[in-house]
């Protein structure tokens, strides 16, 4: 599913982080560990073809995004990868449902609003479908972000510090949701985190190496 070998990633000409190897199968989860500022987010962005990969290879279902033309890379990223950010990045002014269908809209594929609604209902947001994003609680917004990442049945779900600043209960709920998202979509799940609470839940971990340049 996801294969990474000797990845060195950064921005522009600046090398930021190294990931010797990473392999995640369909439905499995791997934690990407490292302290704050170690370059975990940069690795996630490199996996999605957004940060510059200076060395090594990244393949998702055998496809190396970095070798694709920009237009194909954007399209493939939208269809193959679901992203969940610590800050969630829901768009205020749009309803929960519209925030979920933002992913097919941006990827330029058909918007299945029925499936989006079903996902929200399955995540316990049946009554919040038309609620504007800015009126959702943090927990509700988190589930909307997860539904958005799941909608296109991606091959890979990348989650960046999804449990940061959450209490233990909320952390457990989010971990459940992420695990459920991966198993229901059959996606490989990579969670970039420095939250030790997740280690108990997802024992497979990989550490990133910060490069000092």
């Amino acid at each position: 599913m996801l294969e990474v070998k000797d990845l060195v990633a950064g921005y522009g000409q600046k090398r930021v982080v190294r990931l010797p190897s990473l392999s995640v199968e369909r439905g499995a989860c791997r934690l990407l560990l490292g302290p704050s500022g170690s370059g975990k987010s940069t690795v996630l962005l490199a996996l999605a073809g957004l940060a510059t990969s200076m060395a090594g290879t990244v393949t998702i279902n055998g496809v190396d995004l970095s070798r694709l033309k920009p237009a194909d890379r954007d399209r493939s990223r939208g269809r193959m990868i679901g992203f969940i950010f610590q800050d969630l990045h829901l768009i205020p002014g749009l309803s929960a449902l519209d925030n979920v269908v933002l992913s097919p809209f941006a990827a330029g594929v058909m918007q299945d609003r029925g499936r989006a609604q079903s996902l929200l209902e399955a995540l316990g947001l049946g009554e919040k479908v038309r609620q504007r994003a800015e009126r959702l609680s943090r927990g509700e917004a988190q589930r909307v972000a997860i539904a958005r990442a799941m909608l296109l049945k991606p091959s890979l779900i990348l989650a960046d510090e999804p449990t940061a600043s959450l209490d233990d209960t909320a952390c457990g709920v989010v971990a459940d949701l992420l695990e459920r998202a991966a198993s229901e979509t059959g996606a490989a799940l990579v969670i970039a985190t420095h939250d030790s609470r997740l280690k108990a839940r997802f024992p497979l971990t990989t550490n990133v190496e910060r490069l000092h340049e």
Binding site: G34, G39, S41, G78, H89, P92, D98, A107, D160
Partner: protein, 424 residues
């Protein structure tokens, strides 16, 4: 989900900011629209009122004043000319038509014009009801005048001295309405026509001229109406055989182009007369009005430029504030061109709203100006119909918005999600 919905979500986050900038653009559009409408309305009105009058012969003074008062019913006359001089030019072999005009009184603000029936022919005026007068003190009213005065055929009314309301009422000299004209869309609609004899009669009675032969009989009677010439203010003294007859001006149409060469020269040779060519005076007036119009139009364009700059700054700020949302869209698979289009659509949408609002405001202002002009006795503005002008103005508003959007749209296009979203 579509781009418009997404853009609207962006706009709805800062409704007051956008409303302010849209209003600024709308005001600029409104000023430009209103000015164009008023200018076109005035020019169209002047052109129609000018009809085929080639020359105005009147007393010496400002030729523009002579034309404005005699043709457009706007200013006070320069004075009067003797009837004998007027008749002399009426019978000139190079004159096709000569219409005498005698001014001095009004009724409810509508000018009473002592003239002949031919005056109505200049503007193609025909009777809607009633008949033409058959003698002095009969009056035929233009359509606007009749409607405003709520007067019918068979009714009577008294004139007031002067060309605007508030003058001495000629109580003992009532006019009888014999006819009402159909609307013509010209100055004729606001006129009260009567035989020239009526004007003479009213003022002879008002002055008590009964052959005393007092040389100052005319000048004292209406001294309170300073600046307003009168049918006999500058005339010769009345004598025992009756007063010297005068008219205010003579509206002349040439028989041939030779008239344009000969007649003004002959008029200039007369000591008390001056020729005024309406076409030249209207051009002069347009230049005068044009200067003021240009200043106002410059103000409108300035508003548009300021609104455009406001758009640039606000869009640039908005793109900066939405960096994470734009980056998210890129992460979700959006191409840079989509981000460019979102900013462009946002600017065009606001430009369209502001443009439509500005057109509405501009039309409202022009309509108000036209109504005010009528109510205050100014020229009746015939506002031109909406058409290509509005398309151009709307296009201009959209073009300003588009130009304003280019920089911020390029910034959105260049959004680097990796830089925006990088965390730990």
């Amino acid at each position: 989900m579509n781009r418009f919905k997404l853009v609207w979500a962006f706009i709805s986050r800062k409704p007051l900011t956008w409303a302010f900038h849209a209003l600024a653009l709308a005001l600029g559009v409104a000023v430009v629209t209103a000015l164009m409408l008023v200018q076109e309305g005035l020019q169209s009105r002047f052109k129609r009122d000018l009809a085929d009058i080639d020359l105005v012969i009147g007393a010496k003074g400002s030729p523009l004043q002579l034309v404005l008062s005699s043709v457009f019913a706007l200013d006070v006359p320069t004075g009067n000319i003797s009837l004998s001089e007027a008749e002399r030019f009426s019978k000139h072999p190079l004159v096709k038509r000569a219409v005498p005009v005698s001014l001095g009184d009004n009724a409810m603000g509508f000018r009473i014009v002592g003239t002949s029936r031919i005056y109505a022919d200049i503007y193609g005026g025909t009777l809607a009801v009633g008949a033409w007068w058959t003698g002095p003190m009969g009056a035929v009213l233009g359509s606007d005048a009749a409607r405003s005065m709520k007067i019918r055929v068979g009714d009577s009314f008294a004139g007031e001295h002067g060309l605007s309301m508030g003058g001495e009422v000629h109580k003992d000299a009532a006019y009888l309405v014999t006819g009402i004209l159909k609307p013509t869309g010209t100055v004729l609609d606001r006129m009260i026509l009567t035989d020239t004899e009526s004007v003479w009669k009213v003022h002879e009675e008002a002055h008590g001229v009964e052959g005393e032969g007092k040389a100052d009989a005319e000048s004292h009677a209406h001294a309170e109406h300073e600046g307003e010439a009168h049918a006999h203010e500058t005339g010769e003294p009345h004598d025992a055989a009756g007063p010297a007859r005068e008219v205010t001006a003579l509206l002349v149409t040439y028989k041939s182009v030779l008239g344009a060469v000969m007649i003004p020269r002959e008029v200039k040779a007369r000591p008390d007369l001056q020729p005024a060519v309406p076409a030249i005076e209207v051009a002069r007036l347009n230049r005068l009005l044009g200067n003021g119009g240009e200043v106002l139009q410059g103000f409108g364009v300035g508003l548009l430029v300021l609104a455009g700059l406001g758009f640039v700054l606000t869009l640039a700020t908005a793109v900066g504030q939405r960096a994470s949302q734009l980056a998210l869209l890129r992460v979700l698979g959006a191409r840079p061109l989509m981000l460019f289009s979102l900013v462009t659509i946002e600017a065009l949408l606001l430009g369209l709203l502001a443009g439509v609002a500005g057109l509405g405001l501009g039309w409202t202002a022009a309509t108000f100006a036209a109504q005010t002009s009528v109510n205050t006795g100014g020229p009746v503005l015939a506002l031109p119909p909406a058409g290509l002008r509005e398309v151009w103005i709307l296009g201009g508003a959209l073009a300003i918005s588009l130009v304003a959007a280019i920089g911020p749209a390029i910034a959105a296009y260049r959004t680097d999600p990796a830089r925006v979203l990088k965390g730990g």
